[in-house]
Structure formats: C-alpha cells, structure tokens
C-alpha cells in the first residue's frame, strides 16, 4: 500500500481534509461546531495546563503503511528531522523543566539520529517514551538490538497492536504484521520489558480496526492480557485504548467506505465534557519533523500550528507565550472527547 501522498490523493492535503471536516466538499452532513460544544462545557477557549510532555515527531518514514495512519506515514515518505533540529529540541529541554520526552513518527527508529537523540535526552535526566510499531525491531538486523538499547536507556516503550489476533491486526496494518509483532514483543519481554519488578514499562495501544469506538480500556486490557499470555506467553503493563481520528488515511477509509457520516455522528453523540477537560493538548507540545510547533500530533498532520505568534518554531521556543496560548481546535477534536476520551496515553476520563 502507498501513502496518500505517493498516490497523489487529494486527501493527502491538510487543507482538503479540513474542508471535508468543515463540510465544504464531499461530506453531506454538517456536525455541530466543536468550539461551540466546548463553550457549552465551559472550556472555551481551551488553555494549556503547562507543558509536561514534549512530543517530538522525528519523521514520517515508516516500514508500515497502516490503513488508519493519521500521519500518512510509509516507506515512501522522506520527511525526517535533522540533527540540527534535534539539537534545538535538546537546547529547550536542557533549559526548561519539562519532565517527559515522547518520541514518535513514522517509525522513529528509522531516523538516523534517533539513538543519539535518545542518549542525549537520557543525559538530561528526562523520562523517555518511544512509540514503537514493533515490526521495526525485526524488520532488519540493524534493529534487532533495539530492546537492549531501550533497556539501557530506561525507555518506556509504547507499542501499537490493534488486536490480539492476526486477522484483525493484519487487515489494519498489513500482512504478517501480527506475527512480526509477536516476535518483537517476545524480544522485549526477554530483556525484561513488561516483567514484574523490572521497572521496564511496555504498554500496548489498541485502536479499533474499523469505524467503531473502543470499549472500556479495562475490559480490553483484560482480554489482551489473557489472550497474549495464554497463546504466546507475552506480558505487558497497560493497554491504552485509542479512538481513531478522522484524519488522513482513516478519513480516507471513512469516506471510501461510506462510514464518514455515521462515524462523526457517533463521535459527536459520545461527546463527554469530562474527557474534553483532559485532552492531551493541554499538557503536551508537539514538535514537527521540521521543528514547527503544534498542539498535538493530529494538528501537526492538519498543519494547524500553535497560535503563539512569535513561538511557532522550536528555535523560537517561548514558554510563557506557549503556556498562554489558545489551543487550535477543529472538528477532528471530537475524536479526543468521545466516550471515555482518547489521547496518546489512553482514556482521559
């Protein structure tokens, strides 16, 4: 499968996705304005609570092309963060009290400066989270030692595994992905990840393989734990249940399959003010591969930059201005506020 960009789909354009979400093309039905919903909940304008998580998207290159990918990542994407931009991130991290660095992509490990960046963050005493797609670990011998590298740097590994069987996982992420993921999970378990008392955290991410919402995180975690342990002897710490966002390739799927209206309706009807109060953009700042700043990874893909006039790039980082910004919202935000809520760390309510 190719990325939307490589197949020259109009949906690869952020402005076109926003046009669909705001009903100027394709979509037949308009949904209530997200900002108006937040106003009703007394949360508008949405303000940050402070920057605790510094999320860095180090590039769109990935060994997979999952059907739901909001990044439109894939082997054909060449956008990659340079060492210079990483250094600018480190400069900010060394001079500000931001405890967590969350590294994502694409497959972040494919950035040639990835390991150096992790080492430097570790030297600064930051807690490091890496969003690992699992298959990268077994994709090429040069990545086989990643579990050991993660162990040495006390990295928290967050891995996506859409389901506990091959059928549903492979339909979403590509043929053979489940088998490779199981192999990679075993390798992580072998160095101590997910094992009680090791202090090495391995969390999994579930997201529905289609146009439906996730069930409660606790019940899914129980099923995943039992299935993975019984069948493969795999252990992990927590399961994060994440809602698919109507952005990029998942938006393309919704439109192509005729599920767009129904899915948006479901998101809107499941709006939960409590979840809205806990959305991740309130304590996260997201840095793009070129150093641009965003409220979250979704806004990044929709090219909606932070509304902080003199602090839109990492080299101009101004904490005071960023802490006082209004978070940029649009209709895709309904994905974060449906039901129990959804963020990179799972449920928000």
């Amino acid at each position: 499968m190719k990325s939307l960009k490589a197949s020259q789909s109009v949906l690869s354009r952020a402005d076109y996705q926003l046009e669909v979400l705001n009903n100027q093309s394709l979509a037949k039905k308009m949904f209530p304005d997200f900002a108006a919903k937040l106003t009703q909940a007394g949360l508008f304008p949405l303000k940050p609570t402070g920057i605790e998580i510094f999320q860095v998207n180090v590039g769109k290159m990935c060994n997979q092309t999952c059907k739901h990918c909001h990044v439109d990542a894939g082997p054909d994407r060449k956008e990659i963060m340079t060492r210079e931009t990483m250094q600018q991130c480190l400069d900010v991290l060394s001079t500000h009290d931001i405890p967590i660095v969350d590294i994502t992509g694409g497959a972040p490990e494919m950035n040639p400066n990835f390991r150096w960046f992790v080492e430097e963050c570790n030297k600064l005493g930051k807690k490091i989270i890496v969003r690992c797609n699992l298959t990268i670990i077994v994709a090429n011998p040069k990545y086989h030692d990643l579990p050991e590298f993660y162990r040495q740097h006390q990295v928290e590994v967050v891995s996506s595994l859409p389901f506990y069987n091959a059928d549903r996982t492979d339909r979403q992420r590509g043929k053979g992905v489940f088998e490779s993921s199981v192999q990679a999970l075993k390798m992580l378990n072998q160095v101590g990840y997910g094992q009680e008392g090791s202090g090495l955290i391995l969390n999994l991410v579930y997201n529905p393989a289609g146009a439906f919402l996730p069930a409660t995180q606790a019940s899914l975690e129980k099923q995943f734990k039992k299935a993975l342990l019984d069948e493969f002897g795999i252990r992990f710490n927590q399961l994060y249940a994440i809602t698919n966002m109507p952005v990029s390739r998942f938006l393309d799927f919704l439109l192509q399959s005729g599920n767009y209206e129904g899915y948006m309706e479901k998101l809107v009807n499941s709006f939960n003010p409590q979840a809205a109060a806990g959305v991740m953009c309130r304590n996260t700042l997201s840095v793009g591969w070129d150093g641009s700043l965003y409220d979250c990874d979704f806004n990044q893909m929709l090219e909606l930059q932070v509304s902080a006039p003199t602090s839109t790039h990492i080299r101009q980082f101004n904490l005071n201005e960023l802490n006082n910004r209004d978070i940029v919202l649009n209709q895709h935000c309904y994905g974060c506020t449906a039901g129990a809520g959804s963020s990179c760390g799972g449920n928000t309510a």
Binding site: N165, P208, G210, L213, A215, S219
Partner: protein
C-alpha cells in the same frame, strides 16, 4: 411512505417511543440499562448474549446495534458467528423437539 417496513434510521429513534407512553417507556429504559450494566455477568458477556438473542428474535435493529457493540467490546468475528450458531442450534432444536409432540399425537391417533 417508506418503501420497506424497516428503516435503519429508526434505530436512533428508539428512545422516542416515550412520546406515546412516557411512564412505561421510562420504566423499560431504566430496566434495560440495569440489565446491561456490569453484574454477576460482565457487560461484555451480556453483549454476546444480546447478539445471539437478536438473531433468534430476528430483530434487524438489535442485530445492527449488537454487531457494533460486540466489535467494540473486542469479540472476534469467529466468536460472534459462534454465538449466532448457538441461537440457530436452540431454534433448530426447539423446532425439532416439538416433533416429539407431533409423534405423540400421531401415535395416539393411530391404530
């Protein structure tokens, strides 16, 4: 007039049955809510039972609703179809076991 008796859009209007008899509808929905809450059986187990029963009573609205619910609750396609077979087996068995009644009658009437 709509061309068929069933309209998928009507599922969303289920809650509006209270318009014609609020008191009874309210009682039903309170009961319904409690039936499907976590109890001696988990909400997840109840979802699969509901999926099977919706096939047995052949309610297209319930089949629609509980197919989604079972997917959301993490059931596999194979598990969902096995639940439908359970409903089918009970229905088939229930038909056949009445054959005994038929046999009794035939034997009673026969010389």
């Amino acid at each position: 007039m709509q061309p068929t008796y069933y309209n998928p859009e009507d599922l969303k209007k289920f809650g509006s049955i209270g318009e014609f008899q609020k008191k009874l509808a309210d009682k039903f929905f309170t009961y319904y809510g409690e039936v499907f809450a976590e109890g001696e059986l988990s909400a997840r187990e109840k979802s699969l039972i509901a999926l099977a029963v919706s096939h047995a009573v052949q309610c297209p609205y319930c089949i629609d609703a509980y197919s989604v619910d079972a997917m959301e609750k993490g059931y596999t396609e194979a598990q969902m179809m096995e639940a439908v077979h359970v409903a089918a087996a009970i229905r088939g068995g229930a038909t056949l076991v009445h054959g005994v009644q038929m046999m009794n009658k035939v034997k009673e009437l026969s010389m």
